[in-house]
Symmetry: C2
Subunit: 188 residues, 2 copies
């Protein structure tokens, strides 16, 4: 249940409304902890009810600005320093790799080649993000850059792995007669 802590963490920097938070979830946290509008508003209500947030101001159009309380900061620190992150991961991409045997080797190689392309595209998208974000001196900018670097390294690794995997699968393909000819083998 990290959504709770994502909200707390964002509000630790400055007070904000649900609407403001949504923009942060769609930009900075999009690649790390996506959340929907209904989740965010629901969580704000629960956090305020349990005293970790308070409504610090009310504005036009029913706007409610929330601020973290001292109790909220204690909870945030507790989460960061005294609890273990959940490391359970599901990767649909990798799950598919397990079952590539249900396809022909050529189809499997195509799949892995597409994965390489998708990883390269992801890498490029992060590079663009890096260029477009107005990086400041605020803590979330500073530490957000570390997270971005993680993404860059991850996507680079994914592309390399996928290209390597294509080679592995191609090495297993029964060579066709034309490929055998290309490779200088003598047909008999």
């Amino acid at each position: 249940m990290s959504l709770r802590h994502a909200v707390l963490g964002l509000l630790a920097e400055r007070p904000a409304s649900g609407y403001d938070l949504m923009k942060l979830f769609e930009t900075s946290l999009a690649n790390v902890w996506p959340a929907t509008q209904s989740q965010v508003y629901g969580e704000l209500g629960k956090l305020a009810a349990s005293g970790l947030l308070t409504v610090s101001a009310e504005g036009p159009r029913g706007r409610k600005e929330y601020a973290i309380t001292a109790e909220g900061r204690v909870e945030l620190r507790h989460w960061l320093t005294e609890t273990e992150p959940d490391r359970i991961r599901r990767s649909e991409t990798l799950l598919r790799v397990f079952f590539l045997g249900a396809l022909t080797p050529v189809e499997a190689a195509v799949y892995l080649g597409l994965e390489a392309g998708r990883a390269a595209a992801g890498h490029a998208a992060l590079r663009e993000l890096e260029a477009s974000v107005p990086w400041g001196d605020d803590p979330i900018s500073v530490y957000g850059r570390l997270a971005l670097e993680y993404g860059l390294r991850l996507t680079a690794m994914q592309e390399e792995w996928a290209r390597w995997a294509v080679e592995q699968v191609e090495g297993r393909e029964a060579p066709t007669s034309s490929q055998a000819a290309d490779m200088g083998e003598t047909p008999d």
Copy 2:
């Protein structure tokens, strides 16, 4: 809804009972698509009801062995070749990185150092898994090795990143007076 396809993929290789599948989920798929017993039994029921699986044999203790049908194979191929994998990712580890500004730089460096250690431990665990698995020639072994290699590269990358991140954070620490002296600065 990939659990459906995970079950289908495993049964594409050979028929198995829910109990057999659970062992596969706990070993081969543990790092890729974890599933609980109640999920697996539920999904088997639904897949059999929709005709993608059939009960191919019944054994002692109420054992039901399921086999994939022709329709099931069509669905598996369709999933592999004509649908886009879901790439939505949540990383609690990275979410925490965003909020490390709520700690002192020293505490943040400690957190990242622990992450480096956890990544190294994960890498070592995968190496052990690699040594302990009886790798065969069956498709899941062949392609499972590709997935394992992904894990090895991922954990190696994570450790390198975390060590790099520690350095970044240490570079931002307010120098202590002794460090200022070490750096040749004149105290006044």
